[in-house]
Subunit: 592 residues, 2 copies
Amino acid sequence: MPAYRAPLRDMRFVFDEVLDAYATLQSLPTQREFGNDLGGAILEEAAKLAENVLAPLNGPGDKQGCQYDPQSKSVKTPDGFKAAYQQFAEGGWTALACTPEFGGQGLPHVLNMMVEEMVCSANLSLGMYPGLTHGAINALTQHGTREQQEQYLPKLISGEWTGTMCLTEPQCGTDLGLIRTRAVPQADGSYAISGTKIWITGGEQDLVDNIIHLVLAKLPDAPDSVKGISLFLVPKFLEDGSRNPAFCGGLEHKMGIKGSATCVMNFEGAKGWLIGEPNKGLKCMFTMMNSARLMVGMQGLGIAESAYQISLGFAKERLQSRSLSGPKAADKPADPILVHPDVRRMLLRQKVMIEGCRALAYFTGLHLDVAHEHEDAQIRERADDLVQLLTPVVKAFLTDEGHNCSNEGLQVLGGSGFTEDWGIEQLVRDCRITRIYEGTNGIQALDLVGRKLGLGGGRAVRSFFALVEGWLKANPEAPHAAAVGKALKQLQQATLWIASEGMKDPEQAGAASVPYLRLFALTTLAWLWSRMALVAQQKLAAGSSETRFYGAKLKSADFYVARVLTETDSLLAEVQAGKATLMAFAEDEFAA
Amino acid sequence: MPAYRAPLRDMRFVFDEVLDAYATLQSLPTQREFGNDLGGAILEEAAKLAENVLAPLNGPGDKQGCQYDPQSKSVKTPDGFKAAYQQFAEGGWTALACTPEFGGQGLPHVLNMMVEEMVCSANLSLGMYPGLTHGAINALTQHGTREQQEQYLPKLISGEWTGTMCLTEPQCGTDLGLIRTRAVPQADGSYAISGTKIWITGGEQDLVDNIIHLVLAKLPDAPDSVKGISLFLVPKFLEDGSRNPAFCGGLEHKMGIKGSATCVMNFEGAKGWLIGEPNKGLKCMFTMMNSARLMVGMQGLGIAESAYQISLGFAKERLQSRSLSGPKAADKPADPILVHPDVRRMLLRQKVMIEGCRALAYFTGLHLDVAHEHEDAQIRERADDLVQLLTPVVKAFLTDEGHNCSNEGLQVLGGSGFTEDWGIEQLVRDCRITRIYEGTNGIQALDLVGRKLGLGGGRAVRSFFALVEGWLKANPEAPHAAAVGKALKQLQQATLWIASEGMKDPEQAGAASVPYLRLFALTTLAWLWSRMALVAQQKLAAGSSETRFYGAKLKSADFYVARVLTETDSLLAEVQAGKATLMAFAEDEFAA
């Protein structure tokens, strides 16, 4: 099984050459000094960590899993995880994009996303522990009091402690209005939190000394809906060292991410403190959730990259049958399966999806930095619109493609892929959850059509269309400009359909949502492939010696347009098919 | 987790009402007596076995798996498997469609496929042990000597012994020309077989007293290609009771089907006997393989049905959020998620694929019986053409849809689907191998475009097109006849493209094969949905009281045409995109 190698060359291509990200970042007051040298060095260090420390623990972590001890209610993570986590924290990786005020390095969010891609390629289970901490950091940074920030942020940012997000309960996943966990005000200003939370990543583990739970709960007089939930901070250990009664009641037995402790958490009158305003917990939750959604997208991308490397390595080595156009490795008993057209189809689908998704993710991440830090309010707003619009697309499409690519990769390996020996079946299993958690991909699609298309009265989506149209106008000779234009028209048609039909009847929008999100993503990727091909063309015209790399970009763009983008016709038709055939069924007509 | 219930009503609908199968079968000399009473009773008995005996062992079998003991080189199957297998064998289920001459019941092959669907819905791992025996039975029936048949068939057909298919070696999967296992002639007319085979289902197990291995190997003077392989019969125990040195060297650790023993088999000069002619092993292998491929298709269908039942049960019970058109279960804290359009989309995709695939499978199975038994040679040939043409479609499409449906089903469950509690993640894992074994689905697509389209100079595919066109002409008012006609034209266009381009350059056919097979399947399903809808319409017009059942059929056909068949546009475009963008890549251009 080939060892994971971070795709640094491609990451640089997207970041530096296509997006010109250093120039954009240097226009932000906080990133004036952030240049090629620093960015490149950090990415190389992250690559080493991912390749040498995290990746070797991925397979063993899956096999060993996490162990729960009902006596002590403690959880043991797989061998090696603790040391690797400590190396991660001590290397400052948790702190990378956090505010320097509390010990963070203040580096760009987009850089953090790039690191996250590598971490998730190497070891999703391990990467989730520090990953979840960021939700807690974001919530505290934006909604905590100064005192709360001073008390908790330094140790969360340093990675000395980790954080969790405690949202789900047995009767309540997507619909947070159904939460039953209660918070009763205490005389000292704290709250007594009681209830059961499930699927809590890292709710209990042996990596760190203290765990800071962020818990959604209801105040005694709260309205019985999402307008009645509040966010509380509940540490495992209190300031005086005493154990807060927030105990792990067991671990979930899951299809994948077995090295990640997914806990049932019982809060038995645990001491907690309100974060933000009473009954405004949903807003705080979205603060945690939005950045988490982008990060889950990176998980899908990271896994897809790993799967691609394994399947490409296999296809180059595995000798089986002769090429249909005559032997290619006449000295060997058969040709490498890479010669066969359909094996190439499977590999190239992975390749163009991964490289296209990478461009989409970094494009979004770069706008996240602009949205946070630019001095011009109008530019901030425009960037924030884009990030909001694209966040559900990044989350859903990158994880759907993580699923598709890892399965396509497994298929390249045939029977070998189904065995544990090659590690790719683990990637398929691990990736499966990314389409579900932090809001299922169906919920992402509803977010896109229900909230994001309407953002600012359609401002966000109009501004995105204008961006693509402006680029096409400025680059009419770019490779595949006409195909991008055609896909964009289809997307605009679909958008118009949803705007007019969905306005009259929200179930029309719901029925269209999933194919619409995919149409949105494929169109955006077409645009980014055209941009990437244009850059490659320019580099070659300027006499670059990297003819292999840039030549492959041009060919990949060709493949994407000829054999992937064709899907948009079907998606538009499905959007316009409307809800009729879905809603016609009575409940008892579903069973055969 | 809802218990599996065999979909007997739908099976009867397809078999009896749509295909009018009893009439066709009664026209065969061997099935004159096979009627509704007998067929119905057998299906009901099979349903009981699947629901009550096999299904309860599926989850426990996955968790426990098979154990290998290196000392004794023996394999222990999960608890309960042996007793359930014996019940299966004693019930005569292995013998169902086997020849009465050696103890079989001589019932139709299509009935056997229907039973197989239920068995695989209930417990794929367990079903594989008797399933593989059929390969050995078929090879012996068609290629064995009278003496071999008398010696082995009775105990294989009764299920007292099981059979295996030993094809794959470490260096050789798809490309059987690379086989290294050797067969050296002995003075007594037997052969000494030496070599290593991998991925041998049931190569060793504790269910039965003897295992009959059918082994591909090369004679000393054999040509170095597929023209040099021969088939041998190698029993675990010889007639005198002595142990033949054909030992299990270990078990594969796999993603799924953990209750099925997937063995490495070491043949250490084991005694074997030639089946059929020397160097004609490939022909014998295809005898085993072709019926195995239809059966693997049934595995995909069976798993899809199980996944659908679980996800539908969940969607009816799980309360989460309110319907977009106002509360539907006002007395409850939220509505069942079945009210949401996108949940319906996921469920209905499963439903129409499953019911359409069931029709395709039984249609093919019925022609298998006609091809074997009809008195008129011309009718036999026409039926055999259809079976040969549709076998790769059934194998690949039904397992691809088993994969898609089980994953769509898991998605309906959200986080619950990712846990082991609901059993659906096991279905996803178990199903994954069906797209690979007995020829990967890519190989099926190559078989379709490379062998089957050219069958009899295109006779098979022309006769299939004529069948559909004839039906459309005879039933111009059938629901969705126009949509079927449009899809058929697209399929014919694609077929013409492959015939003309693939003739000049086989890599063009290779590049088109996978989207072409899917286009073929979706078009065939459209035709079958139109047929099913027409029957439903007629039943309702005739005043049937089953308005729910037939009404749902009409709505399902609407859904299929409006939201699934739309994919054909994209598939035709992908077929016609040709090989250029695939073959343009040099080997070193695949890596990023």
